[in-house]
């Protein structure tokens, strides 16, 4: 049925997981006040974590996690082949997330540390877009379900979705959160892309940059503020490397 002249699409959705904690998928089953409406608006044809139905006829693939082992290549290539729209879900899928922290270590040593003389196969962590083309990225650790819902609504009505480009700082101001710099904590809010509604500063924690860079981040000014408040280069770089979302500054 058309609404204002637009035909809503019935989305056939697949949700897939690679190297990750599966917390972003879990967000699909959270926000309970609208959960049944959300699930009722789409057809979930493949979602291993919650369903034994494993249909291949999905149009949209939401992919959580990063690629860290050879068998994951074949799986993501097959998903890319099937999906009309491939969405990278969460920071691990978008830019490696915390999984990419291991890339700073020698993987042979890492294996020895964890598995002794019986190493397991592992590759340097790759974001999904480093392996197959990605149509849309929803960063966050975890993703914000409100934003996922809005994106799904836009897909249903074939309306382009504009990702926010402003920094997290703006959203703290909107919800009257006291700046965590004032509480003596480091915060990446001035340089991190907003859209999360800034739950971390509101909960008493500085931003860790899970959504990656805001548009035209002013790294120079940020660095000045952080240094003035007594934070060292090591503290700042450890924080910025945490989710791997600040490629430009490496």
């Amino acid at each position: 049925m058309k609404y204002l002249g637009i035909e809503p699409k019935r989305l056939r959705v697949g949700v897939f997981d690679f190297t990750s904690c599966e917390g972003c998928e879990l967000q699909f089953a959270n926000k309970e006040e609208t959960l049944l409406d959300f699930l009722g608006a789409i057809d979930i044809v493949n979602f291993r974590e919650i369903s034994s139905d494993q249909g291949k006829d999905y149009d949209i693939a939401f992919v959580e996690g990063s690629i860290t082992r050879s068998d994951e290549f074949a799986r993501i290539i097959e998903i890319r082949r099937q999906a009309k729209i491939l969405v990278a879900l969460g920071s691990c899928a978008c830019f490696g997330g915390v999984n990419a922290l291991k890339n700073a270590y020698n993987l042979t040593d890492a294996n020895r540390e964890v598995y002794g003389t019986a190493p397991r196969e592992t590759l340097p962590t790759r974001a999904i877009k480093e392996v197959v083309p990605v149509d849309m990225e929803i960063p966050g650790c975890p993703v914000n379900k409100d934003e996922v819902e809005r994106i799904v609504q836009h897909l249903i009505w074939s309306i382009p979705f504009n990702f926010p480009e402003h920094p997290v700082c703006l959203e703290c101001k909107q919800r009257f959160t006291t700046c965590v710099f004032e509480k003596g904590q480091l915060c990446l809010g001035p340089i991190t892309r907003g859209g999360c509604t800034a739950p971390c500063p509101a909960g008493g924690t500085g931003c860790w940059g899970c959504r990656g860079e805001a548009a035209e981040p002013n790294f120079k000014e940020f660095s000045k503020i952080a240094h003035e408040r007594g934070f060292s280069d090591l503290e700042i770089s450890e924080r910025m490397a945490f989710f791997g979302g600040f490629e430009g500054e490496k």
Partner: protein, 423 residues
Amino acid sequence: MKLNMDVDVHHLTRVEGHGNIVVRVREGKLEEARWDVVETPRYFEVMLKGKHYTSAAPLTSRICGICSMGHQLASLRATENAFGVVIPPAAEKLRLLAKHAETLQSHALHLFFLAAPDFLGAPSALPIAESHPEVVQTAVRIKGAANRMATIVAGRAVHPVSLHVGGVQRMPKELRELKDIMARTLEDLLAVVPLFETFSIPEFTRETEFVSLEGNGHYPWIGGNLVSTDGVQKKEQQYLEMTNEYLDKNNTSKWARLSRNSFAVGALARFNNNYKSLLPEAKSLAKKLGLKPVSHNPFHNNLAQLIECVHVVAEAQKLIAELEGMQNEPTMAEEIKPSKGQGVGAVEVPRGILYHHYTYDADGRIKKANCIIPTTQNNANIHYDMYDLVDQFAAQGMDSTQLELMCSMLVRAYDPCISCSVH
């Protein structure tokens, strides 16, 4: 009787993470029955090296999306034990409340969305929303209440933000709202009990050693001594003697053993070791469901989880009432001074006992880290259970399809957190 049977499940559905089931029966003889965890390793213990103590909880939180609260609590406890930090009483209560929120959320997710479909003959909870709308609406409300409590107390349900070394960042303002939510949730839980009473629980037992924290008059969640049903008792710092990890060639998860070739942790282990400390509401539900300690039927873990849901909601109500009288008390320790040394944190997370162990240098940076996950401890037990289960049910003439369902239900009964177990 069918003589040849094969079960080959690649990436079992309705569990967190990636695991395979392989069963071969030839001419009535069981040749092979395996539970193989094939999840990709992420090397968290390596990533932790050199990190500042303030990064430990946010990083280890990412080991698991379902039990991130539990990882943070174990991580914070390990760091606080290493530095000799004592958290204020109000923070202890808030952390326990956050713990209960996670237990309720995780158990509800497992019971209604991952386990129940097998008992109702459905591939997922989605068709159940049409066949049993009231049940699914109630289940969603219970899970929503749990996540609301997590958000109020810890700032966010998945990867919470308010738990810091030294305590909790703030005293929530919404305790009154929480009180009402928990009262309704207790009613909701009791309303779904009749459905669980209709579930036909497979009759299978294998004598098992159950490991958990030891309740000291209280059903245990955060810290304390370790205990097993075979009579082993250890201190929290002696966790390595309780876990004894080793490698299996078919698994990226390690395996663990204690007095036997495997042991079990989780809701059933806690129930078996600490039945006496359950609150009256939970104990009366156990009686109603006919569950008594010590149960050696792994499928009873589902019932133990339901009983624990009632326990944590009843205890949450008490905690909220106590916190209402502590509104002006501090929630953070006054001073946190990093020091050279090591600390262990043991926490009962939804799937069983979780250990974090860090060694710090004088600057408060991690030199060595070790995390031992509940599902890591359960994986060998699932494997040996499966062997006995196939042996028993194949002898009864069960066909491959039924056997596959039974093996899958066995794994799901443990509510495994597989990516967590490999980390």
